[in-house]
């Protein structure tokens, strides 16, 4: 029957780590009750590389294969200083990968994942990023309102990709307004559905009366019962669609949205104001992301959480300075040195930790928010998605990518096995000068991305011939990669074996973690 409901504001008054979303769960359940949930991909590119000693928990004790250790997390577990309390509600749905290296991008925004803005004067990027690839893949069974939503937290800028063109917005608030234009659904947006619903509500009792007529034969009675059922089903579908439109017309964001549009430059040198704005920007972005995914306005979201180069670090410093310089360039006599031993437990490290925790905390909040929305098939929005938090740089200390920090929440509907997966090379030992702290991985980052695409249901031909390159899965090894070992450099063959060459390597998935096997 037709239900009269006013406009819903589904993310009002958000506070704390677990968020109340009064509308979307039931909305999603009814809206597509008979449909399989779509798969979705969210990436959050973190600040620079991560200080590994603060990012990872201790090594897992359970050795499940050569250079493979594993442990599971339980809901409520606090994983590490950086992956703190906000991740705890979804800890059992997290995959922490360690020992995945050999990125073929570089740290100047040539990322394979999702490109950030190009530094002025640099040539345009020619490679297709993963979010762009996904945007035009079988992830979409029909053209969506927005193929990608991208947001740059540092500037508050966002843009969507529609019809092959990027549409920029001055702020996430403006993007939000574009996604959910305020409209009175009942009077304007769905008059056809409303009319049809009214008509069905009027027709249904009449069908019953005809069916129950005194002289209706058995066969006709059965046909009329079927007809009644079909009309009732149609009415329910219309009601679900109406509710969905109602919620998605303007789901409402928390009050912090009023802080936008926030250009960080407005708060130059006023760190507390900047922090306030940034807090609001992250919250708004998280809510926007959940609403857009739940309403199926997009299935690909890329968020750049990098404040690299911003002058809004504590005490007016950049984030780059504390996160990277603290560890590597602190000693002028050894600008390339790894100073981690000198800062462990220091105030400097505490400051770095606050900054990393801030961003990671917002990511954990986004994941928890996604986990509180029930999807079409009864699982949560998070369960059917892959939410990747990481960076294509390894530790905070060096310009290297031996072992990228990788957190993935969700399983794309059970395609990956959550937990802490440690693939570091067992034979590794630090070099004598403590130049690098990162553990060297045995798994290849390209295979990690390929695994994500496998899990999202893409076939190899969708990623192997993308514009401007040999496709994802192709591994480009440069002479930057040298590995320390007890007797000097390790060879690639010793560490990666057959994981880096040939078609099989290109299509290889991360073993154990991917539950559908190791090749396509």
């Amino acid at each position: 029957m037709l239900m009269q409901r006013g406009r819903r504001h589904f993310i009002r008054g958000v506070a704390g780590s677990m968020l109340a979303i009064p509308f979307l769960p039931s909305l999603s359940r009814t809206a597509r009750a008979d449909e399989a949930s779509p798969k979705r991909f969210v990436s959050i590119r973190s600040l620079y590389g991560q200080p590994e000693q603060l990012f990872y928990p201790g090594r897992p004790s359970n050795e499940v294969g050569d250079h493979v250790r594993h442990q599971t997390f339980a809901a409520g577990d606090v994983i590490s200083p950086i992956l703190g309390e906000t991740f705890a509600p979804v800890a059992h749905k997290l995959s922490i990968l360690r020992g995945v290296g050999l990125c073929s991008g570089d740290h100047n925004n040539h990322t394979m994942l999702a490109p950030g803005p190009r530094p002025e004067g640099q040539p345009p990027r020619t490679r297709t990023s993963m979010d762009e690839l996904l945007a035009q893949s079988s992830l979409y069974d029909s053209p969506p309102p927005h193929r990608i939503l991208r947001a740059q937290v540092r500037t508050g800028h966002g843009y969507s990709w529609r019809d092959g063109q990027r549409q920029p917005y001055d702020s996430v608030v403006a993007l939000y307004r574009r996604l959910f234009p305020s409209s009175d659904v009942e009077d304007d947006a769905t008059p056809r559905d409303l009319q049809a619903q009214r008509a069905l509500n009027l027709a249904l009792p009449g069908v019953e009366r005809v069916r129950d007529g005194r002289q209706i034969g058995r066969a006709d009675r059965e046909r009329l019962s079927n007809y009644l059922q079909m009309l009732s089903d149609a009415e329910r579908r219309l009601e679900a669609r109406r509710q969905r439109l109602l919620a998605c017309s303007d789901p409402g964001l928390s009050g912090t949205v009023a802080a936008g549009p926030g250009n960080h430059e407005r708060h130059a040198d006023r760190y507390h104001l900047y922090l306030e704005w940034k807090n609001a920007a992250y919250d708004t972005l998280a809510e926007l992301t959940v609403a857009a995914l739940a309403c199926d306005m997009t299935r690909v979201v890329s968020i750049s959480a990098s404040d690299f180069g911003s002058r809004h670090g504590e005490n007016g410093s950049t984030f780059h300075q504390p996160s990277h310089w603290t560890y590597q360039h602190r000693d002028p006599s050894d600008p390339g040195g790894d100073n981690i031993a000198f800062v462990r437990g220091s105030d400097e490290e505490a400051r770095v930790l606050r900054m990393y925790r801030f961003v990671a905390g917002k990511v954990g909040r986004l994941m928890s928010l996604m986990d509180s929305v029930v999807d079409a098939d009864g699982s949560t929005l998070l369960d059917g998605s892959l939410v990747y938090f990481g960076n294509e740089l390894s530790g905070a200390a060096g310009h290297h990518d031996y072992s990228m920090p990788i957190v993935v929440a969700g399983t794309a509907g059970g395609r990956i096995q959550p937990g802490y997966w440690d693939f570091t090379f067992s034979g590794y030992a630090r070099r004598a000068r403590n130049r690098f702290f990162s553990a060297v991985g045995t798994q290849v980052y390209a295979n990690f991305l390929v695994t994500l695409m496998h899990a999202l249901g893409l076939s190899p031909d969708e990623w192997e011939s993308v514009q401007g390159g040999a496709g994802f899965g192709q591994i480009r090894v440069s002479n930057r990669y040298r590995f320390g070992g007890p007797s000097g450099d390790w060879s690639f063959e010793e560490i990666y074996g057959d994981n880096v060459t040939g078609d099989a390597a290109r299509r290889r998935t991360i073993p154990y973690w991917f539950t559908d096997g190791s090749t396509a």
Binding site: L200, D220, Y227
Partner: protein, 557 residues
């Protein structure tokens, strides 16, 4: 399966190929009414009408068009493509009349499309002054006026007087929402719109007599495939559809209308199994100079024109329908086929053995280079004689191996190859009844052309042989006492007309067409009447009586 596909299957595998797939046959000859005392029990009349059915696509469109009037005709045209094929999942005119193939229930696809289409139609209608005036409520919409509109519209949409309680419910909704479109749409979503439902009035034993409105609906959909027009509606309102004579007047009027004549043409096309999409699949050399596409197009027009001529102009009998040699070629191809000079569509007499609806180009066209002897025999058995064909039964015997030498068409004529391939006793249980009928039509090739030679072309499409045509057929087994041997197709038609079975089959086929169901034991009265009319009355009378008879007032309780 299309006619051509069936043909290919038969031509290629003949009897042997059907061992496992099991079509053929057991001849079951229906009782011939005149051969025995009447079996009609007047108390059973109309009892074969049991179930409702939904409207066919054509009926549906015509009903919508009539309901919404000329100002919304374009809207209806736009709405119809919303209904996918599966919404009307049976052919407009079912050929085989199998009960499970008839449009009884409304499908989910139909419901979905109906909701979509009715939403827009109702919205347009609610804002269309001409539509509103048509139903007695010109702008502005006030309650009393809306009541009039709803009463009139619902009555026409449901094809019965509007129930006052239902009207009151709609008016309450009007008071609450003021949304006329939703009220109009609700009316369209009733099963009384999409289905032909009959409540009936008082019971009479195991039957129930229909209301005048229900009789009007039967008349109208049987005669013109659409809802009652104003005259018929008035007659129902005035209680003037109580007797067969009263009904007959409307049936005659409607059948003579353009829509009625089109309906009659569809009946004869259906009876002769003419599929407008089917074509003969002959080789280029076999076709020669004949433009087969143009030939078939003109053959269809010639067929329709001939039906009009016999039924309405000549007011001919069933004999005329099968023997009249008038042809109406509009193309050089068809004129040549009929051996006449003119090709302007004017009537001429064929100089070839073509005649009637059976030996007519449109009916004969179809097949490969080798004429479809078996298919033609099956067609004559099933559609002209109304014989029931059962399944093959080999009793566990293995079919004989074919000797390729006997299949060589450069040596053997087509009929000999068919006879050889169906020679096994198990095959002949059915083919003994099928093949002779097909042999008699051998004078017509797959393009319907008269011929004296069975021309054979090799794999390169070059002539390889020409066998004299043999049309003599024996052991026809049409019915007891009927002529059993013929020398030509014309004689076969004579033999068929001498029998009772063709006439009985004409009435039976017409009943199935009108009622859109298989005939049953309780149809015996009507079948006897139709059989008698087919012997002496005009085809027009046969068509009229097919609707205007006592059965139209009743349905089984």
């Amino acid at each position: 399966m299309s006619r051509l596909t069936t043909l290919l299957a038969w031509s290629l595998v003949a009897c042997h190929g059907n061992v496992e797939e099991a079509p053929p046959f057991e001849i079951v000859t229906p009782p011939v009414p005149d051969a025995a005392p009447s079996l009609c029990d007047p108390a059973d009349r109309g009892r074969s009408h049991r179930d409702s059915r939904r409207l066919t696509r054509g009926e549906f469109e015509r009903t919508l068009t009539a309901l919404f009037g000329p100002s919304l005709e374009d809207e209806v045209s736009r709405a119809m493509p919303l209904f996918p094929e599966e919404a009307f999942d049976v052919p407009e005119v079912p050929k085989d009349f199998l009960p499970e193939a008839l449009p009884r229930a409304v499908s989910e696809a139909h419901v979905d499309a109906m909701i979509q289409a009715s939403t827009d139609l109702a919205r347009r209608a609610a804002a269309d002054p001409e539509f509103l005036a048509q139903y007695g409520c010109p702008m502005p919409l006030e309650r009393a006026c809306v009541a009039t509109l709803l009463r009139n519209f619902t009555a026409r949409a449901h094809r019965r007087p509007t129930d006052e309680a239902e009207l009151e419910r709609l008016l309450r909704a009007w008071d609450e929402t003021g949304d006329l479109a939703s009220l109009l749409q609700a009316t369209l979503l009733s099963p009384r719109f999409a289905m032909l439902l009959e409540d009936g009035g008082e019971a009479d034993g195991e039957r129930v007599r229909l209301s005048d409105f229900e009789v009007a609906v039967r008349i109208s959909y049987a005669a013109v495939e659409g809802p009652p027009d104003d005259l018929l509606w008035s007659a129902a309102e005035l209680g003037e559809l109580q007797t067969v004579e009263q009904v007959r007047a409307h049936v005659e009027r409607l059948l003579e209308s353009e829509a009625g004549r089109a309906r009659v043409r569809r009946f004869f096309r259906s009876w002769m199994e003419i599929d407008p999409t089917s074509r003969a699949a002959v080789s280029d050399a076999f076709r020669g100079e004949t433009d087969s596409a143009r030939l078939y197009e003109d053959a269809l027009a010639d067929f329709d024109r001939f039906v009009d001529y016999v039924v309405w102009e000549l007011e001919g009998t069933v004999d005329d329908l099968f023997t009249d040699t008038t042809v109406f070629p509009s193309s050089a191809e068809l004129a040549e086929l009929y051996g006449v000079v003119g090709s302007d569509g004017e009537p001429q007499f064929a100089s070839t053995p073509h005649q009637g609806i059976l030996l007519r180009a449109a009916t004969l066209i179809g097949g490969l280079n080798d004429s479809p002897i078996i298919l033609r025999g099956v067609f004559l058995r099933r559609r002209i004689l109304c014989d029931t064909l059962g399944a093959a039964d080999f009793d566990g015997n293995t079919p004989s191996e074919d000797d390729p030498a006997f299949l060589d068409r450069s040596v053997h004529p087509n009929r000999d190859v068919v006879a050889y391939r169906t020679r096994d006793e198990a095959c002949m249980r059915c083919h003994a009844f099928i093949n002779p009928l097909g042999f008699a039509l051998e004078a017509f090739d797959s393009l319907g052309r008269f011929r004296t030679e069975d021309r054979v072309f090799d794999a390169e499409d070059l002539p390889s042989a020409a066998h004299p045509i043999e049309t003599r057929a024996e052991a026809l087994a049409i019915e007891d006492g009927a002529r059993d041997e013929v020398d030509s197709a014309g004689e076969l038609v004579e033999a068929l007309l001498e029998s009772d079975k063709l006439r009985e089959c004409a009435g039976r086929t017409l009943l199935r067409f009108h009622a859109m169901r298989e005939d049953g034991p309780d149809d015996v009265c009507l079948l006897e009447e139709q059989s008698a009319l087919a012997r002496s009355a005009t085809v027009r009378e046969l068509l009229v009586h097919g609707i205007a008879n006592e059965d139209i007032f009743w349905r089984n309780l």
